[in-house]
């Protein structure tokens, strides 16, 4: 990165253009009101940072201060203070976008992911720890951003198109897709019959349609898909039954992960849980000496338990 000192000048805001590497293009218009009032009443106190476009002398590219710049345009300012710096290399430009903007502007994850994709493309660096160090992001954020990048482009575009909206207004939310991506990986990794029949993109699309049709109660419902698959892994339910249930889940937009899980595997999990408790109880009972004294209350509890077990076994034949 250049270490040339910056020069402070006044620039016509219309001669500045946004930095193409700043993916934070999704501004909620009315959230700029605070800054507009401040700029109108006291001016821009912190200069923008920009560099002169080498291909277009007299025209500047913004490094820092997109919100101030947008306010200047809205307010019709003739000139804005700006520190001009030497043009950075493409990678420096990207990394500076992260270091300058990410925390201050609270980028949505999709914006982080798209920038990170460029960093990976230009630097060739894919290691999570190195990417975290270079960008100043946590490893968890890098990991989540990379998972988002695994989505088909079409789905990324849907997320981008709603990124400027309040979370309550978004349908194609980042957290929805993180859950879908996880569920899709499990389904395709563990159920070959599903992987043969549906492409990854098809599964992701069909799951996203459930959110579009508003059939989901919560995005975390997709965690029930992994539990459903686990039921086959643990031999609680046959693989054929689970496969058929997952196919129904993919094909029927009205079928929700929780409803399908409850129908197919919930009871089996409850039985597994009861069996584990029965093991623990048996171990606990074994510690009482055969000729030891049992209290009346304990006898009564055991007797009731025995009746319940007998009743259940007889009912089940």
């Amino acid at each position: 990165m250049s270490t040339e000192p910056a020069t402070l000048i006044q620039i016509d805001p219309w001669s500045i253009r946004r930095n193409p590497n700043n993916p934070r293009r999704y501004f909620n218009d009315e959230q700029l009101d605070l800054l507009r009032t401040s700029v109108q009443e006291v001016g821009i106190l912190v200069p923008l940072i920009a560099y002169e476009d080498p291909d277009e002398p007299g025209s500047f590219v913004l490094m820092d201060g997109e919100r101030r710049w947008r306010c200047a345009l809205d307010l019709g300012l003739d000139a804005v203070p700006a520190s001009t710096i030497a043009p950075p290399t493409p990678l420096d430009n990207l990394l500076r976008m992260f270091n300058i903007h990410s925390v201050r502007e609270d980028w949505p994850l999709i914006a982080v992911a798209l920038s990170l994709r460029e960093v990976i493309r230009i630097s060739g660096e894919e290691r999570e720890s190195r990417l975290a160090e270079r960008t100043g992001l946590t490893r968890a954020t890098v990991r989540r951003a990379k998972r988002l990048l695994n989505l088909p482009d079409r789905e990324l575009e849907l997320i981008q198109a709603e990124a400027h909206l309040d979370r309550s207004q978004q349908v194609h939310r980042e957290d929805l897709y993180l859950e879908i991506e996880q569920a899709t990986s499990v389904v395709r990794g563990e159920l070959p019959a599903v992987a043969e029949r549906f492409s990854r993109d098809d599964v992701i699309r069909s799951f996203a349609k459930k959110a579009e049709a508003r059939t989901l109660r919560a995005v975390t419902e997709f965690r029930d898909v992994a539990k459903l698959v686990k039921a086959a892994d643990n031999d609680l339910v046959s693989t054929a039954t689970v496969t058929s249930a997952v196919i129904r889940l993919i094909e029927d937009v009205e079928a929700t992960p929780t409803a399908v899980f409850n129908e197919v595997a919930a009871l089996a999990f409850e039985q597994q849980s009861a069996a584990r408790k029965a093991d623990l109880l048996r171990e606990s009972l074994a510690q009482f000496a055969p000729n030891g004294e049992l209290s009346a209350a304990f006898r009564e509890a055991l007797s009731e338990l025995r009746d319940a077990i007998t009743q259940l076994l007889e009912r089940r034949g």
């Binding site: 909620n28 009101d33 605070l34 700029v39 947008r70 019709g76 270091n99 100043g136």
Partner: protein
């Protein structure tokens, strides 16, 4: 210049606004003028759309997407300037009625137009009508002073957070990755908390100044005193 991103809902409102301007018999201004604000204010009146009526009178329209928010101070300032003798009449345009925006426009004497489903204008607030509830100058001044205190506090606090973030690699040398991640998450959480605090206080001050609401001003001043950590 590359145009800044615009919310698609605003783009749609802009197009509908143009239809309504045409229906009102006005001509659309292709190259809007900026009317210098003066009065110590930066910039001027331009708006999202401008029109000229048959008498060459100029109108400037500011589009508002969220009618549930009070008119912000910067637009109240511009409306005051326009009333004081600029050759332009200023209107806000909203796609839906809401008591908050309507009441604050009435108090602040800011013209408000409703864009109907038929893409015509319905005037909800006439900017030339003086209102009995016009914001008391004293409250408006207090709100302005409070805003300066809020901005200073915001700048001081976010400045140090940004400094820490910019030096994150130096500051976290020797930390284990778990501690480093926790540190960065803490910095990010602080930045978000101050940002939300600023937005909240600003909206309260806008509403207090526009409605002459002293109680709301008091609550905003209390929040400024407490900061984002409260």
């Amino acid at each position: 210049m590359s145009e800044p991103f615009e919310d698609p809902r605003k783009t749609e409102l802009r197009e509908r606004c143009k239809i309504a301007i045409d229906a009102a018999g006005h001509g659309l201004v292709a190259q809007p003028l900026t009317f210098r604000a003066g009065e110590g204010l930066q910039g001027g009146i331009k708006g999202d759309v401008q029109s000229l009526d048959g008498d060459e009178e100029r109108y400037s329209y500011y589009l508002r997407l969220d009618p549930g928010r009070a008119v912000p101070q910067w637009l109240v300032n511009l409306a005051r300037v326009a009333r004081a003798g600029q050759d332009v009449t200023l209107f806000l345009v909203t796609g839906a009625r809401h008591a908050v925006l309507e009441r604050s426009c009435r108090s602040g004497q800011v013209g408000l137009l409703l864009l109907t489903e038929e893409n015509t204008f319905e005037m909800l607030v006439d900017p030339t009508e003086a209102d009995a509830d016009v914001v008391a100058a004293e409250i408006a001044t207090k709100a302005r002073d409070a805003r300066r205190r809020m901005e200073t506090k915001l700048r001081l606090n976010t400045g140090s957070i940004e400094d820490n973030y910019a030096r994150v690699n130096d500051l976290t040398v020797g930390m284990t990755s778990t501690v480093r991640d926790r540190y960065i998450e803490g910095v990010e959480a602080s930045a978000s908390a101050w940002d939300e605090w600023g937005q909240r206080v600003s909206a309260m001050l806008d509403e207090a100044a526009a409605n002459g609401d002293e109680a709301l001003l008091g609550s905003a001043e209390q929040l400024i005193e407490e900061g984002a950590g409260a």
